[in-house]
């Protein structure tokens, strides 16, 4: 389980207490927490990049997940950083890493300086 996943109320139980991080004031799964979920839940969570199969049964439920893993993790990372749909291509290209606290772009390794026209359009 990723550590930026909140804990569903039904799982916030003594059984999972050791795997839950409450330091932010909200219950989040600790990185690598192992939880038991139903088949469809496993497919959705793995398909969404929230977690990876932890046993053979889960592997069987999520066939092909390893091949899709790089794309899924990239998408999940964009989700975690709240990348605007219109900026997803720029994130994929390494132009931005995300946004600062004021909502401005955080330049990535392939950052491209916006030309004056772009800036003017943004300001309009």
């Amino acid at each position: 389980m990723r550590s930026d996943n909140g804990v569903a109320a039904a799982y916030d139980t003594p059984e999972y207490a050791e795997q839950i991080d409450r330091s932010s004031g909200q219950p989040f799964w600790k990185l690598g927490a192992v939880v038991s979920v139903e088949r469809r839940g496993a497919q959705l969570l793995v398909g969404n990049g929230d977690c990876e199969p932890a046993d053979e049964e889960a592997e069987q439920a999520c066939k092909g997940w390893r091949e899709k893993r790089p794309d899924v993790l990239l998408s999940r990372e964009m989700l975690a950083r709240a990348i605007d749909p219109e900026d997803r291509e720029r994130f994929r290209n390494g132009e931005i890493l995300g946004y600062d606290e004021n909502g401005n772009d955080i330049p990535g390794p392939n950052w491209i300086e916006p030309d004056d026209e772009d800036t003017e359009e943004d300001n309009e």
């Binding site: 389980m1 996943n5 909140g6 804990v7 569903a8 109320a9 039904a10 799982y11 004031g25 909200q26 799964w29 939880v35 979920v37 139903e38 469809r40 839940g41 496993a42 497919q43 959705l44 969570l45 793995v46 398909g47 969404n48 929230d50 977690c51 998408s75 964009m78 989700l79 975690a80 709240a82 605007d84 749909p85 946004y99 606290e101 004021n102 909502g103």
Partner: protein, 138 residues
């Protein structure tokens, strides 16, 4: 006091054991909660003004959002699963406030439709009927 930008707002849905962010949201809205009142006017009410009082109940309203719809995306499939297999679902909204805690609500019902247009990407509108009330910050 602060003016909060919407960019970076995160809306999470419950998928099995996890609360995880919904991808590709472009806008969202809450159509308004409302405290319920009844007409408390009586024949001996003084003045012309009708009187109302509280029933003690409040309507939670509906929460809606629009997404660029990707039908192969597991997170979006989790939303349509609520149409094919109706169930309650807990959602969280985290604003961009520096000290924001999640505002939680439970949906009892869901509306889901999608639209395509020549000059736009495939989009879906999701409408959630809130049961109880959204947990506002206090």
């Amino acid at each position: 006091m602060a003016k909060l930008r919407c960019k970076g707002t995160i809306i999470k849905q419950t998928i099995s054991a996890s609360l995880t962010a919904v991808a590709q949201i472009t806008d969202f809205n809450h159509d308004g909660a409302e405290s319920e009142t009844f007409d408390a006017t009586t024949l001996d009410t003084s003045g012309a003004g009708k009187e109302y009082s509280q029933t003690g109940y409040s309507e939670g309203g509906n929460f809606g959002f629009t997404i660029f719809y990707d039908d192969t995306l597991a997170g979006h499939q989790a939303i349509t699963d609520l149409v094919t297999t109706p169930a309650s679902c807990v959602w969280n909204i985290t604003t961009t406030a520096a000290t924001a805690a999640a505002m939680a609500f439970t949906s009892a019902g869901i509306g889901f439709g999608f639209t395509g247009a020549m000059n736009d990407g495939l989009k879906a509108d999701v409408s959630l009927k809130i049961t109880g009330l959204l947990a506002y910050q206090t």
